[in-house]
């Protein structure tokens, strides 16, 4: 298995606030599906924003073996597909089509290629008949799936999802779980939904106060109730 994403000793503070990341290191190998859990404010979202260079702290981030610098940022963004927690943050175009096409269009791909990519991405999330709908009027569950399509259309090698199941009703949540299970892509998913973790991810990383406090087999981590409680988590 090749190492597709790794982070070495990453530190980051938001302006004059106390540090949000205090030395984070991790490695994802191809095909890994990893859960990232931890209490509110642990630094999960902050870490994710570093993975395609939206935030840039001290330390090193390697994407596809290459160190992330200002110059290869656009290329890294094509490799790491980042989906934000709130689909409303992800969807800024009037129609579903325009949103899913944004990435490929920005990459300067030829028109045919763009259309083909949009088609494939919408198929993957089973929303191809939503092409011309206005994203504004969709339900939360539908928006979540479109949000995933907007990065799938860029053919990323790694999918980074920030709390994909928040606010979904049980049916929509179930559909999302099935979708994630089927996507044959390396994945890092932050969530508060411990049952999702148990069901879907063989490996779990636990963050608290800007540090990784555990990284290992989901089964073992979820079994240690005392440890979970210490970090504001709960058994599923």
């Amino acid at each position: 298995m090749t190492n597709v994403l790794s982070v070495h000793d990453l530190h980051f503070s938001y302006h004059d606030h106390h540090p949000a990341l205090r030395g984070v290191s991790l490695t994802l190998c191809e095909g890994d599906k990893v859960a990232l859990v931890g209490p509110n404010g642990a630094g999960k979202s902050t870490l994710m924003l570093h993975l395609n260079g939206i935030l840039r702290g001290q330390g090193e981030v390697f994407v596809g073996g290459e160190r992330l610098t200002r110059d290869n940022l656009p290329a890294a963004r094509a490799m790491v597909g980042l989906v934000f927690q709130n689909p409303d943050d992800q969807l800024f175009s009037p129609t579903v089509f325009e949103d899913v096409a944004f990435g490929p269009l920005h990459m300067g791909l030829p028109k045919d290629e763009v259309l083909a990519r949009v088609e494939t991405a919408l198929n993957a999330v089973r929303m191809s008949n939503y092409r011309d709908r206005m994203s504004h009027h969709l339900s939360v569950g539908e928006k979540k799936r479109i949000a995933i399509a907007t990065v799938l259309s860029m053919n990323p090698q790694i999918l980074v999802l920030d709390e994909p199941s928040a606010g979904l009703d049980p049916r929509a949540r179930r559909t999302l779980i099935n979708l994630l299970r089927e996507l044959p892509i390396t994945m890092l998913v932050s969530t508060h939904d411990m049952r999702l973790v148990e069901e879907l991810f063989p490996r779990t990383i636990v963050m608290d106060e800007g540090l990784i406090v555990a990284d290992g087999m989901t089964k073992e981590i979820l079994a240690d109730e005392k440890f979970l409680n210490e970090h504001g988590l709960e058994k599923p």
Partner: protein, 263 residues
């Protein structure tokens, strides 16, 4: 995410922090007005004004140099005033060649230029001190007391509250766009200017719609708590004797600057 960085208030319990917000608003405006009224080259009066500012800084427990550090916000604008260096008649000080023109700096021009910069620099510092020592909701209360129409102060209060929510929303939208602004080797990325403009416009439209619908929900929340078209508030501020005294003293001192400046 938060845009806390937007808040300019610095928590403390100093003399200046405890003053009624009206006092601070009035003194700030009087101070800025006084600077604007001082004639060009009233160095002594400008100096005294500056001491006044340092004193106010010290009284607010923020450190004598507090406002100084933040005072260069308005500096870029100074460049629009550069032309007065050359365009006001007076005795030439020095001449130099700038591309095609011989430019002559005159003494009167220099005087005007320096005076403009000093006025601006002092005024902006006082305004910085005002927001650093007064919570914004209190400034809005002060405006209410000072007879600014209620509808306007209410809009400002709402603006302030939702500023943070909506600016965060914009940051996240910008972030989403950035995250997908990718390129592949050998292909020119970015699209045309018009396309980029349209994407930005779509984001503005998106934001508009969400704000509009949010205002519906907020209105519902207000209705649910008894709103019926008129806003009632408890205004927690009362002018104490020290507030009156401080106002009077500060205004007298500021008047003195005018005297000194015009002697």
């Amino acid at each position: 995410m938060h845009s806390d960085a937007f808040d300019r208030y610095h928590e403390s319990n100093s003399f200046v922090h405890r003053l009624d917000p009206r006092v601070k608003v009035i003194v700030t405006i009087a101070y800025i007005l006084s600077n604007a009224l001082l004639p060009d080259g009233a160095w002594l009066a400008f100096g005294l004004s500056w001491l006044f500012l340092l004193f106010a800084n010290a009284l607010s427990n923020l450190g004598v140099g507090f406002t100084f550090k933040r005072s260069f916000i308005a500096l870029p604008f100074a460049l629009v005033a550069i032309t007065v260096l050359f365009s006001i008649p007076g005795n030439p000080i020095s001449t130099f060649r700038f591309l095609f023109w011989d430019l002559t700096i005159t003494d009167m021009g220099l005087l005007r230029f320096e005076s403009i910069l000093i006025r601006s620099w002092l005024s902006v510092q006082m305004a910085i001190l005002l927001v650093a020592t007064t919570r914004f909701p209190d400034i809005v209360h002060a405006l209410e007391h000072l007879r600014v129409p209620t509808i306007l102060t209410t809009i400002i209060a709402f603006l302030y509250r939702y500023l943070f929510v909506l600016v965060d929303e914009v940051f996240r939208l910008l972030r989403a766009r950035e995250a997908r602004s990718a390129a592949v080797a050998g292909v020119r990325a970015g699209g045309s200017v018009a396309w980029r403009g349209r994407v930005a416009g779509n984001m503005a439209g998106q934001l508009f719609l969400r704000s509009y619908e949010r205002s519906d929900r907020v209105y519902n929340a207000m209705l649910a708590r008894g709103y019926s078209g008129h806003l009632n508030t408890i205004n927690p501020h009362e002018m104490r004797r020290v507030d009156y005294l401080t106002t009077a003293l500060a205004l007298i001192v500021i008047l003195l600057f005018q005297l000194v400046g015009r002697l």
